[in-house]
């Protein structure tokens, strides 16, 4: 960037991003809260009914009937980043800000003005891009990023096409400055209510007065605010060397595609083109020291139909053949959507390669683990991720609640407290207990039963579905041991498991 050129900063602030990231409509009554049960954002109808930010959620709920959602910070970040990726086509100098004071994008436009035929046209294009995303925003232009940010917060859906003049800042309140609350409080205690008063002090005593009292951080911030539109250059401390703006780095995206001379009608025919595209991906991964945890295939037909097929792995890797195997397995399961005229990798989940050291002796273990993974992945590919599950223990007294299944790639509980671990439990627990026949005070289940151990009484879950049972170990005449219980509420007998 040309350091001699006068900078032009566009600040875009997104006051409702917390709602938009959750796909909530701004017309509905929605409250977004944090872990401390405080309202961090609300839709405009809520504010009209007296809701305030940082209000306790319970109090806010008393004011109106509203949908409540927990804040998803990650979703907000992703949304912001995806917008930044889009705006990258206009300028490489984008700063994403996602902090307590709000979410914003600051764009430096001075280098792009010629390319887009002037500021107005450029702004039109940017605003159009943002509007298409359906996000509420506030915008302002200024000679510094700090000033632009500040001014954007003061305007209501401002389509700023001109640089703000120096007086625009002066009316702003100290509370709107992008600095910590303690410093704001200290400034207010010294009588500074708005930026006009700050500027007046700056003019009179220079930046040193602020530097002494509140440190270089505030002094530089004020310099940046007022310097942008300053006329008297010697009043402000201009840095000797102007800092270069940082380039924005959009998410690396990998795309590649192949078009066929004639549409392919069977899966076998797709093997070769898939292999080719994946080889290219493999080369790309190697050259960029990246790994991949999944791809999305896109199929296109002659008549512009489109279909996608994501293929995911448990771990990141560079093994494109694994991806090929998984893709073919999945394709065989799903079938070709139509005659395929175009095949592309439209998305690859890329990660930087980890430089991991390996023990020489662990090669076999590693190989076994890899085989296990492959098996798991194949099963998941065939059956669906959620359909391949493993056992996880649950710390519970009630037997049918004492275990559960989790997806094979999730963490499972494998150890229980000692008392539960030592309990005598059948190796096979019936999915549902089966009622026993009782004849002349004798129990029957596929044969007469004799109680040999027990009772072990379980009384629990009074807070949802009360359970009160006396469990026994019963011996059938064919020496099969069963786990039976008497329901103390209904007085019926059931078999629950087999040893």
């Amino acid at each position: 960037m040309n350091t001699h050129q006068r900078p032009v900063y566009l600040a875009l602030r997104f006051p409702f991003i917390a709602l938009e990231a959750l796909n909530c409509s701004l017309e509905q009554k929605v409250l977004v809260y944090n872990k401390q049960q405080q309202v961090v954002m609300a839709s405009p109808p809520c504010f009209e009914q007296g809701v305030k930010l940082d209000m306790n959620l319970a109090n806010a709920s008393l004011l109106l009937e509203a949908e409540t959602q927990a804040r998803d910070y990650q979703a907000e970040l992703l949304l912001l980043k995806s917008l930044a990726d889009q705006l990258y086509e206009f300028t490489p100098y984008i700063d994403t800000q996602h902090q307590a004071s709000g979410a914003a994008l600051i764009l430096e436009l001075s280098t792009c003005l010629k390319l887009f035929n002037g500021l107005e046209r450029l702004l039109e294009a940017i605003y159009s891009c943002v509007s298409q995303r359906g996000l509420e925003y506030q915008a302002a232009l200024a000679g510094s990023s700090e000033a632009a940010w500040l001014l954007a917060g003061s305007s209501k859906h401002c389509w700023a096409y001109a640089m703000a003049d120096s007086d625009a800042l002066l009316g702003l309140n100290v509370s709107e400055l992008n600095i910590d609350e303690a410093t704001k409080d200290s400034l207010r205690k010294s009588g500074f209510r708005n930026l006009a008063e700050l500027k007046k002090q700056l003019v009179k005593s220079g930046g040193q007065a602020f530097r002494t009292r509140w440190g270089a951080g505030l002094a530089d911030y004020l310099n940046a605010l007022f310097m942008a539109n300053a006329v008297q250059s010697d009043l402000f401390h201009r840095p000797l060397f102007r800092c270069r703006e940082q380039f924005y780095e959009p998410e690396q995206a990998y795309r590649s595609s192949l078009e066929f001379d004639y549409p392919l009608v069977s899966i076998d025919l797709l093997d070769a083109p898939m292999r080719q595209l994946l080889e290219e991906l493999g080369t790309y991964l190697q050259q960029n020291q990246l790994q991949c945890s999944g791809i999305t295939w896109a199929f296109g037909s002659i008549d512009q139909r489109h279909s996608s097929m994501p293929v995911r792995c448990e771990r990141v890797h560079k093994d494109y053949l694994l991806l090929l195997e998984l893709s073919l397995i999945q394709l065989q399961q799903l079938g070709l959507p139509f005659e395929v005229d175009r095949l592309s990798i439209e998305q690859a989940d890329l990660h930087s390669a980890e430089l991991a050291t390996e023990k020489l002796a662990s090669f076999t273990e590693k190989q076994d683990s890899r085989d296990e993974q492959l098996l798991l992945r194949r099963m998941q590919a065939r059956l669906g991720r959620k359909n391949v599950r493993k056992l996880s223990l649950v710390d519970e007294h009630v037997p049918e609640l004492a275990s559960t299944s989790v997806a094979a790639d999730e963490l499972a509980l494998t150890h229980l407290p000692q008392a539960l671990a030592e309990a005598e439990r059948p190796s096979w627990l019936l999915k549902s207990p089966l009622k026993l026949a009782v004849d002349k005070q004798k129990l029957f289940w596929q044969g007469p039963l004799q109680l040999i151990r027990g009772p072990e009484r379980i009384e629990s879950h009074w807070w949802d579905e009360p359970c009160a049972r006396d469990y026994f170990v019963a011996l059938r005449d064919d020496q099969v041991r069963l786990w039976v219980y008497r329901d103390l509420r209904q007085q019926d007998w059931y078999v629950h498991g087999i040893f």
């Binding site: 205690k189 009484r457 009074w462 807070w463």
Partner: protein, 1029 residues
């Protein structure tokens, strides 16, 4: 017949799910012969269990559950007195070496400390193969250490693998020759308490019940079972062994004999001789002209009874403490029924002489009552710690400790904890707890739950309600009593365990005042009274410029101007008569003498109000109603109160003179009246009373009428002696207010927290009395508020009140004192000079700047902050960077807000004076205008909420106090209005009221029709309301 040897009550905090008395009563129902209360490392519930056991004729065994650091658990039982002392000492040792609420015990402690106790080693787990050898070794050590005092306790609760566990333990027991016995674990008296027990367990682990998993008890078997149930669970020999063990335990708490500390009596004298000598010496000081004959008779009578009941040491102990306090110039005064004692007056424990009131010793001590006396002594609250440390020094921590207070679940805490345990949303729990007013009854809870959005029809909400009801009254933890000391001759830990309190250098016993009373242990209440501190400070100030006032005795008695001031209800800050209700009564009663004050203080109490005494008294006082005493005997009792019984002592004396009761019997009647709703004792007294009156030739109709009349207040009416003790302080404080108002307010401000009113309200009142109040300033203020002479004119100096630096909220005492000391040497000339000489940190300077206390050095607070922020470190200390501030000075409202933030008051305009310019308040009348408005007129008022009161006698009416720039407005809120504007009434800081004005004589109220929350106008102002019953 059975015995339960392992029972934990709710004094095993957050574990046991039944009260001790519930366990005892249930054991009786089931036919148990005895029950051992074994709370974990505690004897906190043992007295309650003992009382219940005595009433129900079942033997209580004293014991405790102890878990060693190694994990082994034991029941320790006390078979005899010595064993009990061991157990109590053991618990003390384990508790004293740990933080509050915890304990540490190990095997060596058991071995060396418990030589007579019985031990039951609890077989809590299955003996796995890997454990057998180590368990066997441990068992051998135990067997060797405890010989025939050791058993292994088997607990069958239908858990997993109990049979195999039992077999392995039996094998071990046979190997080491330790007998087994049945020891079922009991956590509740009935299995219906299982849900509550689970909630308590979840609370202990700070989780919800849904998250607890196997950490909850597997079933509800840990309850008191019937003999039939136990015989199905345990072999006969185990049950028998348990019974044999129980039968060997014969200790009863009744064997505990309290001994007063002996060192108080000099060698060669008996206690009564020494006491008598002290009383005689004191009486000569009290009556330098000669002790009147009547007084001598009273003294003899009292000393005779004291000797007969062996209470000499008690009086000597209290005398010694009071003597120490006086030697240190700490103001103190006994209160309560002790003021009926001439002996206490001679010993200078109390200040009520027999000619001030109609003393009645039986109200204090009587043979019939058979209870240790209870003397409460108030000390200056700022110096009470000196008295406490004296007691510790004199008797040692082994023989003196504070009594406990049991902190129990109340509605709000019950809602919070049960809600948390059931996994309710934190926001919901919060709103539900906050929506409860302090006056809501149990029945209101269901409505509040429904209002909060919890559907009453769901299972969980029904459970929530039941559990909240059940947990109320359950103990949560022990705290220390305000000042109740127990002092013994022997080691205190041989009677009751002592543990660490939350405060450093404090220990508490595990019994509260009710337990002490039941066990007849002496308790001396070393209480704190802010007014005594204020009076001493006042004396010091006044004494510095008026030499003839050096002590309270120098204050002129029966000063007419003082009474005139009180008759105008100008009593803010005055002891006991500054409340809204008292201020309403003062203009009607118009006190003219000391005894009028005694009546004034006593008459605004539930007893006289509920007994309908107030209006008849006032009417007779105003000559609107004739007085008929029936005869001279009754006249003597009732004449001081114009024929209307007001004091408890009058109820006692009436039954003596009219029905022929002895003094002790009469006091028993009074106590029966106090509890007449709870038991049937009153009936027997009623019959005797009527018969006695009839025999004294009173009519039956009159006898019944009189009995009913005194029944209404006999229990609730105020003791005359107590009222008189308070009236003395009331008079002194009134006199100071009337004649030395600057010193009076200054002393009150320096004695905070105390009294009814905030510093802000006191300052407002001072200014209404034309006292100039000067702001806190580093160049003029001391650490405390002080008097500043603003116009010297011979002896009639004009005093202003200078606020002290300690009024600044965040400034610590040390910094304030440094500033004050340095300024006294030489007045500060700059902020730099201040920082250097007073060694202040930057943050302390900022506190001073926030309080505008640098005004004389820097100007307004913006400039002060600017200067302080600019201070830079240098070799010589901080220097101010010289850049002049360009900002304007703060607006008035900003200054007021900053004043409240920093000082909790402002000397500038009252916020209401500024708000009145706004349209919303333009129609609101000032408090000073109300007296000119016609009774019954519609009126609007507004003010900052400074008090909310809902007296129990007012049938649900709430009295609101609003402060504006001209004074305090009394607002009456009926029940219907409360319901309509509940949130505003409970939570608003600033309220606008529309209502009707009501005037009776000089007392003005506004009856609220509508309450409007205007808090947003003062949202940033730090104000506080005083809310109480």
């Amino acid at each position: 017949m059975l015995s339960a040897l392992y029972c934990q009550s709710n004094f095993s905090f957050l574990c046991g799910a039944s009260h001790p008395q519930e366990l005892v009563e249930r054991a009786v129902e089931l036919g148990y012969r005895s029950l051992a209360l074994t709370d974990e490392c505690s004897l906190a519930g043992i007295v309650r269990a003992h009382q219940a056991a005595k009433c129900n004729n079942i033997r209580l065994i004293c014991g405790s559950l102890i878990r060693l650091q190694s994990g082994e658990a034991f029941i320790v039982l006390a078979p005899d007195r010595q064993a009990y002392a061991e157990l109590s000492g053991f618990i003390t040792l384990a508790r004293r070496r740990s933080n509050k609420g915890e304990y540490q015990a190990n095997f060596e402690d058991l071995r060396f400390r418990l030589k007579r106790c019985f031990l039951i080693w609890l077989a809590e787990s299955r003996l796995l193969e890997r454990d057998k050898d180590s368990k066997a070794m441990f068992a051998q050590s135990l067997a060797k250490a405890f010989a025939r005092r050791l058993w292994i306790g088997i607990d069958h609760r239908l858990l997993k693998a109990e049979v195999s566990a039992f077999l392995s333990w039996r094998q071990l027991a046979e190997t080491v020759s330790i007998p087994l016995l049945a020891c079922p674990k009991v956590l509740m008296h009935t299995k219906a308490r299982k849900a509550l027990q689970d909630v308590l367990t979840a609370l202990k682990q700070r989780k919800s019940v849904q998250q607890m998993g196997s950490a909850l008890e597997q079933n509800a078997q840990a309850y008191l079972k019937s003999p039939e149930q136990l015989s199905r669970l345990y072999p006969e020999e185990l049950l028998l062994e348990a019974q044999i063990l129980a039968d060997r335990c014969h200790f009863s708490l009744d064997e505990l004999k309290y001994q007063y500390p002996r060192e108080l009596v000099p060698g060669g004298q008996t206690p009564i001789d020494y006491l008598s000598a002290l009383v005689e010496q004191g009486s000569k000081q009290r009556w330098p002209q000669g002790v009147p004959y009547k007084v001598k008779q009273l003294i003899s009578k009292e000393l005779a009874l004291i000797a007969e009941l062996h209470y000499e040491y008690y009086f000597l102990t209290v005398y010694d403490i009071v003597r120490f306090a006086r030697s240190q110039n700490i103001l103190c005064q006994g209160r309560g029924s002790a003021a009926n004692s001439v002996v206490c007056y001679c010993l200078r424990i109390t200040e009520i002489s027999p000619d001030m009131i109609h003393v009645l010793f039986e109200r204090f001590i009587s043979k019939e009552r058979d209870e240790a006396p209870d003397i409460d002594v108030d000390f200056e609250h700022s110096r009470r710690e000196e008295v406490i440390q004296y007691i510790y020094r004199k008797y040692g921590r082994e023989r003196a400790a504070l009594a406990a207070t049991v902190i129990c679940y109340r509605p709000r805490s019950a809602i919070r904890d049960v809600g948390r345990a059931l996994g309710f949303e934190p926001g919901l729990i919060d709103s539900l707890a906050k929506s409860l007013a302090w006056w809501d009854r149990k029945g209101d809870l269901k409505r509040r739950i429904a209002e909060a959005g919890v559907q009453n029809s769901t299972r969980l909400s029904a459970l929530f309600y039941q559990l909240v009801q059940a947990i109320q009254g359950f103990p949560r933890h022990l705290s220390q009593h305000v000042g109740g000391f127990v002092i013994t001759e022997q080691a205190l830990s041989s009677i009751v365990p002592v543990e660490n309190a939350g405060m450093a250098e404090r220990t508490v016993i595990q019994w509260d005042k009710d337990d002490l009373e039941a066990m007849q242990l002496m308790k001396v209440d070393v209480l704190a009274l802010g007014m005594l501190t204020a009076l001493r400070k006042c004396l010091e100030m006044v004494g510095s410029y008026q030499r003839q006032i050096q002590c309270l005795e120098d204050i002129p008695k029966e000063d007419a101007a003082t009474y005139e001031m009180l008759s105008r209800a100008d009593s803010i800050g005055v002891f006991q008569v500054e409340s809204r209700a008292q201020m309403s009564m003062l203009p009607r009663l118009k006190p003219r003498c000391f005894y009028d004050l005694v009546i004034q203080i006593a008459i605004i109490r539930p007893g006289p109000i509920q007994g309908g005494m107030v209006h008849p008294y006032l009417k007779r006082r105003d000559g609107e109603e004739a007085i008929d005493y029936i005869n001279d005997a009754l006249k003597e009792v009732l004449e001081p109160t114009l024929g209307v019984p007001i004091f408890q002592e009058q109820a006692i004396r009436l039954s003596m003179v009219a029905a022929g009761f002895s003094g002790g019997e009469a006091d028993e009647l009074r106590r029966a009246m106090a509890s007449w709703g709870k038991n049937g004792n009153l009936l027997q007294f009623e019959q005797k009373f009527i018969a006695g009156m009839l025999s004294n030739a009173y009519s039956k109709e009159f006898a019944h009428r009189l009995f009913e009349q005194i029944k209404g207040f006999g229990g609730y009416g105020f003791p005359e002696s107590h009222s008189a003790s308070f009236a003395i302080l009331c008079y002194f404080s009134s006199w100071f207010k009337r004649h030395h108002p600057a010193a009076f307010y200054c002393a009150l401000l320096n004695s905070q927290p105390m009294g009814f009113y905030s510093p802000s309200q006191l300052v407002q009142d001072a200014r209404r009395h034309a006292i100039k109040v000067l702001p806190a300033d580093v160049c003029f203020s001391s650490d405390e508020c002080c008097l500043e002479n603003i116009a010297a004119s011979g002896e009639n100096k004009l005093w202003a009140l200078r606020l002290g630096l300690l009024q600044i909220k965040a400034l610590n005492k040390a910094a304030a004192q440094r500033i004050s000391s340095a300024n006294k040497i030489k007045t500060f000339v700059s902020v730099h000079d201040l920082q250097l000489r007073a060694k202040l940190s930057r943050i302390e300077l900022e506190y001073l700047a926030s309080a505008d206390a640098l005004h004389s050095l820097q100007g307004h607070r913006y400039q002060s902050h600017w200067s302080v922020a600019g201070m830079q470190p240098s070799i010589m200390g901080c220097q101010v960077a010289e850049h002049a501030l360009q900002s304007k000075s703060p607006e008035m409202i900003e200054d007021i807000q900053a004043d409240f933030d920093s000082l909790r008051l402002s000397l500038r305009a009252h916020p209401m004076a500024l708000l009145r310019r706004m349209a919303a308040f333009s129609s609101c009348r000032l408090q000073s205008e109300l007296k000119f408005i016609r009774h019954g007129s519609f009126v609007q008022v507004a003010g900052i909420v400074t008090g909310r009161q809902r007296p129990g006698t007012a049938k649900g009416t709430v009295f609101l106090t609003l402060e504006d720039e001209s004074g305090n407005i009394n607002v009456v809120v009926w029940k219907r209005t409360q319901e309509l504007f509940r949130q505003t009434l409970l939570n608003a800081k600033l309220i606008r009221v529309k209502g009707r004005l009501e005037r009776k004589a000089d007392v003005v109220h506004v009856i609220a029709g509508q309450l409007i929350d205007a808090s947003e106008h003062i949202a940033a102002l730090s104000t506080k309301s005083r809310d109480f019953h």
